[in-house]
């Protein structure tokens, strides 16, 4: 485009450019600028205050020699895998069962999705109380005569992650249900008639025909749940505060503790940069297939 034409274009749309200034400022300063600064700090020796020196990958070496960080990564992997798998299976089953012409459908839907409206803090505190071994389910069951009953997940470092997964599944499974149910409602009824005439058993229809059709909804719900799990901080703070010991430490909490309590900015930014790179590596293929894959087939 010629310069004169460009000037004319900008002048004609000047107000539109002005209107987008807040967004541009936020993208440049609040997103890209902060991200760049975080990455920069991860190569410095900053502790309580930011420093402008350059120490190479020293913070990263220290980070991956810190057992608390390694534990938090392992915990994150455990929680993410089981949370996503259980939410997917449970949410899918709930959607399919609700879709069987059941009565009081609205009641079931409401009951399965309401946890998603609650905050993570509330979710954590609620389950912390229910799983409390002194006065919660364990005590109740023992008093009922099951004297050997043990449910000490939140206070036992070997099992505390089960408690975290339980609480997060309770919070998130309804999301998968809601999105898949919407998808199931959009499926042509002729498809069901055709498979019935062919005598294909219902579970095979679901597994090999319906679920592949619902792929976009499945991807959407898993992406949303993944974002929530990467950001997970409040649930851990409320439910276990990372304990017992470091048994339920997660990366987001590790970073926050090092930023604001342990005054170790270099280490914290090295950890957040690691998270950033990990998230990019995971979402890049998903976004690529969602965007470019669709464009290729539908255009």
């Amino acid at each position: 485009m010629q310069t004169a034409q460009l000037t004319w274009h900008v002048r004609r749309n000047a107000v539109a450019y002005l209107a987008l200034l807040p967004m541009a400022a936020i993208v440049v300063f609040a997103y890209l600028g902060t991200m760049a600064w975080s990455i920069r700090l991860s190569f410095s020796s900053s502790r309580l205050l930011p420093r402008n020196d350059f120490v190479g990958f020293a913070q990263y070496t220290e980070l991956f020699g810190t057992s608390r960080w390694l534990t938090s990564l392992e915990n994150f992997a455990f929680i993410a895998v089981f949370f996503l798998a259980i939410c997917f299976v449970l949410g899918t089953l709930l959607a399919i069962f609700i879709d069987q012409n059941v009565r009081a459908e609205g009641l079931f839907r409401t009951a399965f999705l309401y946890p998603y409206a609650m905050s993570m803090v509330v979710t954590g505190l609620m389950w912390q109380w229910i799983l409390n071994p002194d006065l919660g389910i364990e005590r109740t069951m023992r008093d009922m005569g099951f004297s050997g009953f043990v449910l000490d997940w939140v206070v036992n470092s070997n099992t505390v992650l089960y408690a975290v997964v339980l609480a997060t599944v309770w919070h998130g499974a309804g999301l998968v249900m809601a999105l898949l149910l919407a998808g199931l409602r959009g499926i042509d009824t002729d498809l069901w008639k055709a498979t019935r005439i062919d005598g294909i058993p219902a579970w095979r229809v679901y597994a090999f025909i319906i679920l592949p059709i619902l792929r976009p909804m499945i991807v959407t719900s898993l992406v949303l749940l993944s974002i929530s799990i990467v950001k997970m901080y409040d649930l851990i703070v409320a439910m276990t505060n990372g304990g017992p010991g470091n048994a339920s430490e997660v990366p987001a909490k590790f970073i926050m503790d090092n930023l604001f309590e342990r005054a170790n900015i270099g280490l914290a930014t090295a950890a957040s940069t690691t998270m950033l790179v990990t998230v990019l590596l995971i979402i890049a293929p998903v976004l690529y297939s969602q965007y470019l894959g669709k464009k290729g087939s539908s255009a």
């Binding site: 987008l20 936020i26 609040a30 009641l107 009951a111 399965f112 926050m256 979402i283």
Partner: protein
């Protein structure tokens, strides 16, 4: 009505005994899952209505023997966080003060961005938008420390404007996406006609586009009210001691008390904190699901 009739599919056909067992199975599964999802809510409510003496008996599922609302009163007006014994009401009003400007500003900006991006040819607009969306996937921990420094420089760290700005920043990706997708589905003829008649950017926005945006604005309000009310991390970091939101105060009341924990007060406080999102959820019905679905990245 017999049991068989009651649980039969809505479309009346003669029911074989195999189908009958199938129906029983469906309801048994849905019923069991409803119990699982509602149980924490039930436990929370009954615990909040008991006296501590009764809670110490350890029957977490039992109904209260004598109904008392004392715990609710304490939770609202005199529960302690550290040395302050002012109850949750301080946090409630702080949350309201944070919520209202954050919701209004983030939705207005989202609508404006969506409008400028989908109706006006702005160079670089899509690149800007892509950067913004990518930001939505990133863990907050990458942005937080540099933002704290920026805010400290600008003198808004630990203040109400600071936390509102933060909510506007982190709400922007989803809000822009929501309005952009909605506007790209609107017919462009009206916009073109208005342009030919000489209407400018703001004129078209306020007289044509905004009046057509009522449904999507309802979805946006539902999403932002729930998200901002439930936020913990941003309020904790950016709001400052004077403006801590309800979720942070709740966690402080429950997890930083010394001495014996008042579980009835804790549970009353937990319920109080979730009342706003629960009311939004129950009042909005299918709009809530629509919000979840349209908040997903669809390109």
């Amino acid at each position: 009505m017999s049991v068989a009739e009651l649980i039969a599919p809505a479309a009346r056909r003669p029911v074989t005994s195999q189908q009958l067992w199938g129906r029983i199975g469906i309801y048994a599964f849905l019923g069991a899952m409803t119990l699982f999802f509602l149980l924490p809510l039930y436990v929370m409510v009954v615990t909040s209505l008991k006296t501590m003496d009764e809670i110490r008996l350890g029957q977490i599922f039992a109904l209260p023997r004598e109904l008392t609302f004392d715990a609710w009163k304490v939770a609202w007006s005199s529960a302690c966080t550290g040395l302050d014994c002012t109850g949750l009401r301080v946090g409630f009003w702080n949350s309201v003060e944070i919520l209202i400007p954050s919701v209004v500003l983030s939705i207005l900006l989202g609508a404006l961005n969506g409008y400028a991006l989908s109706f006006w040819k702005v160079r670089g607009g899509n690149v800007l938008f892509a950067c913004l969306l990518l930001g939505a996937f990133m863990p907050y921990q990458v942005f937080i420390y540099p933002l704290v420094r920026f805010y400290a420089q600008a003198g808004i760290y630990g203040s109400l404007p600071g936390v509102v700005l933060t909510h506007v920043i982190f709400g922007m990706p989803v809000m822009t996406l929501l309005f952009r997708n909605y506007y790209s589905g609107l017919p462009t003829e009206l916009f073109k006609a208005a342009r030919i008649d000489g209407a400018g950017f703001w004129m078209i926005f306020f007289t044509i586009i905004l009046p057509m945006s009522v449904p999507i604005t309802i979805v946006a309000v539902i999403m932002q009210v729930t998200a901002i009310w439930n936020d913990f991390l941003l309020g904790l970091v950016f709001a400052g001691r004077e403006n801590l939101p309800m979720t942070v105060q709740l966690n402080n009341i429950v997890n930083t008390t010394t001495g014996e924990r008042a579980y009835n007060v804790n549970m009353a406080a937990t319920i109080l904190t979730s009342l706003v999102p629960l009311a939004v959820y129950l009042g909005s019905g299918r709009w809530f699901v629509r919000g979840i679905a349209s908040g997903a990245v669809k390109g």
